[in-house]
Symmetry: C2
Subunit: 523 residues, 2 copies
């Protein structure tokens, strides 16, 4: 871990600690209350490296060569025109765009190093930059599953419940398209989903870039619900999208248009090539990074060409496939390594960046738990700014498990705890307690313990620490069975945050009118 | 990760890579075979820090103060005499031994920085020093459990099966008392258990320090089975024990005697205070480290006083209790932090050291999986030389789960994979493949892929990456159900390593004779 970050700030120099005690003021009381802020996390680890600086430079240079010599296929005419105006070589017939090194560098230079996302309330503002850590649940699952209702296509009800759960835990820092509300027709889904986000949460909402019409609908809804005029809205990012390139080397119409739209409205685009090694990318970690880095840079460049200074995150989602079946795998050692490499490349650009974990397992079991934690460690040690798919993902993201959302939540909260400072001042060194307790004795009754025991340790959500006998008497429930009770109780107890009720009223009128007019189909 | 370790050694400077290709020799073929050596692991991570150097110094100084001013209660007369002869202040009535700073420093100075454990075959030799990584399964469980036979008191049959499984996987580097063979009377248990270790495995065996009689029995058995005379045996460590202090500040007869006996025979003692924060130790991480560090230093000092240069490992096993119930917890954020702090203290001494993970959960489920992985990350990032309880532990070590042994094994193998080098030479950068595959295409058929696909990725043991439909058709087994089949198949296929059959014959004669003579009771 870094020695000079917030995490070690409370570590007191011995000489100072001595001075403080000798002053007789005794501020031990202030140390007693352990308060962990899961919202404003700073990553306490020195970012881990997997490659030498030379190797990182080589990957970066090869990625620039890919963009300059091989090029990207850009399916949007507007995006091609934007690239052409900067001097990129565009072939209209093949849609190939070859982007010179200087164009890429100049564009990336204008991307902000720090993005302050404005939440629906001030306490939900979120700073994204190298060194901060924000966590998201799994996203984009077509299906949902839980122990009561089984596996089914995602519905608006599922989406609503899962947004409530996301809202309920500080460790989930942003909303996202956690499941697809497949029961809502495609041309009106964005209205319904957006209303859920805006009425039940004050965290920063997500928008799918499925064409300008839907995107502008969503932006208008944010303005209506949160009482902002167009200027105010454009002044700061209040929503975000994830832009996946179509690896290898392709940017489709909706993604390219999304980059342009989000840039123009000053909203955040998180650029994320999805590169499965062996399938859409070379099967070597270094080769996959060349491709992913090239695609990410091309997309960031497009956003900056559309509007210099537009808020943007670098991103990577690199894992591997099973070379026997082609099935995607997540939480693998290869994903872990690719995460570290992505972090090195993100730091080379100096941009906030998104990283990913995931789980391939079809059930919320030890496999899936281990996969999600393994990938998450890769992302955290890589210094990711935004960790995606941190909770609930199974089946490689095809399904969101309510129970796994809770068991993974515990791991994410542990990351939050690890981010918190660990005092080593005189009170923490506990010499009074060590003198007080005799050899072979115990510290339960020591005054040092009595002052601190209520808040000394992380209190788990789902972990059951009781002994075997007690555990059996309590129905011998496994973690999933307990998680099932936890999410149900959390939904029962849910209280929506204070939102502008009048704004929601106007929102409903807007939605009714737009659906009456035919809605907006995805592109 | 470190840039200059073995892990990054194969990373080739771009200029060199170019030169190599231009020489026309084309050694791409050599890069194609991914070979991961799970036996000789070097930790690829720069050790993580949780405390500033000042704070580490403060903890170290307070630990020395504990030994000098408060002292240790040492229940063994022989150990007290050894301490007294170095100048420590001994009170025979209270058994308290106060050990001055200089005595501690002088003793620790003679401890070897590097320990080469000799295995039953040359390939099982194991180097322990700062930077190497050896992994053990869970150890010391009174009970065993599996899906077929349920939870039961550990038996010699369980011990035998579990030693076979430990032997079967390179990632488990040392044997250990994985379960207690409760069906064997205490006075003959060490013979039976030791015979299993010596006849079914060539990995370094474990001895419980339960009195000199048992220890010397075991040492004689090693000599008999492996055809060594006493001098040869004493020349290198060929076995090890774990010495737990009785925290706080107490060293009982068998542990103190064990330290002395192992030192005299030149066998390895891994010193490990077991400090549960809030129970046997202060509830602050820094306070628990003061105690654990003091106890570890006192025990290491005793071993070095008994025989300077005796092989020894520093060790720590610090976790916390549930302050509501007193129940021990493992794999917590507090254990994670204590692991990092222990690593900083071990590096201060410069000694190889043992660290621990664990799981409190009563079942092999997502909770227990997450706990074991969380604690293991703490140990690995802390730069532990020996990681204990890496697989199979549940119920805070009261039970060894066969299924969890396998699911955790997967995580340990992933650590092994992460230790392996990640090439970034020209072949790995894969520009040929990136040129070959068109935008939107795939890499399955690329020649770069075809050359490497068989060995490109880690092949999981228990993880099932098939899609939901296929998974359901294959009985929809969770990780535990698959793990159950895996350990049973592994036992069926087990082949004992080549051992000296004649030696085993002599061993059986020795055992028969000693049991006839009444065996040796534990102290």
């Amino acid at each position: 871990m870094r020695s000079n970050t917030a995490a070690s700030a409370p570590i007191v120099d011995r000489s100072k600690a001595r001075t403080r005690r000798s002053s007789g003021r005794g501020n031990a009381r202030a140390d007693v209350q352990r308060q962990v802020d899961y919202w404003n996390l700073r990553n306490p680890f020195e970012p881990a490296k997997i490659f030498s600086e030379d190797a990182v430079d080589a990957i970066h240079e090869e990625a620039l060569t890919v963009l300059q010599d091989l090029g990207m296929k850009v399916l949007s005419k507007e995006a091609r025109d934007l690239f052409r105006r900067t001097g990129a070589l565009v072939d209209e017939e093949s849609c190939m765009v070859r982007i010179g090194r200087d164009i890429v560098h100049d564009a990336i230079d204008t991307a902000p190093r720090s993005v302050l996302l404005k939440g629906g309330s001030a306490k939900r503002d979120l700073l994204l930059e190298l060194g901060t850590l924000a966590i998201q649940t799994g996203a984009g699952a077509p299906h949902a599953t839980d122990l009561d209702r089984g596996r089914r296509p995602g519905s608006l009800e599922d989406f609503t419940e899962l947004i409530k759960l996301t809202q309920s835990y500080d460790i989930f820092h942003m909303l996202n398209p956690i499941v697809e509300a497949q029961d809502i027709p495609a041309h009106e889904r964005h209205y319904r989903v957006n209303r859920v986000q805006l009425s039940l949460s004050d965290k920063v909402p997500f928008v799918y870039a499925r064409g300008t019409a839907q995107v502008e609908d969503c932006f208008e809804m944010f303005q209506i619900a949160r009482g902002l005029d167009d200027d105010e809205f454009r002044r700061a990012p209040r929503s975000f999208t994830v832009i996946n390139t179509n690896s290898p080397r392709q940017l489709d119409v909706s993604m390219a248009q999304g980059l342009v739209d989000f840039a123009r409205y000053g909203q955040l685009a998180i650029v994320t090539p999805f590169c499965l090694m062996g399938a859409m990318a070379p099967l070597t970690v270094a080769g996959a990074l060349v491709l992913s880095h090239a695609e990410a840079m091309s997309a960031i460049a497009l956003s900056q060409i559309a509007r210099p200074g537009a808020p943007v995150c670098y991103g990577a989602f690199i894992s591997n496939v099973d070379m026997k079946s082609g099935a995607p795998a997540f939480g693998t050692p290869e994903q872990f390594k690719a995460n570290l490499g992505s972090g090195q490349l993100a730091r080379k650009l100096g941009l906030p960046w998104r990283c990913s974990t995931g789980a391939a397992g079809a059930a919320s079991d030890a496999q899936a738990a281990n996969e999600t934690q393994m990938g998450a460690w890769g992302a955290v040690l890589a210094g990711a700014t935004v960790l995606l798919h941190g909770a609930g993902w199974i089946e490689g993201g095809l399904t969101l498990s309510y129970e796994k959302l809770i068991t993974d939540l515990e791991v994410m909260q542990m990351f939050g705890e690890i981010c918190a400072a660990t005092p080593a001042d005189e009170a923490a060194l506990a010499m009074d307690a060590l003198s007080e307790v005799p050899p072979g004795g115990h510290f339960f009754g020591a005054s040092h313990t009595m002052k601190r025991f209520r808040t000394a340790f992380y209190e788990p959500i789902v972990a059951d620490w009781s002994n075997y006998g007690t555990w059996r008497e309590n129905d011998g429930m496994d973690a999933n069975a307990r998680a099932n009770l936890i999410w149900k109780r959390k939904l029962e107890e849910f209280e929506a945050p204070r939102v502008d009720r009048e704004g929601i009223g106007h929102l409903d009128e807007f939605i009714a009118r737009r659906i009456e007019q035919g809605g907006a189909n995805p592109v």
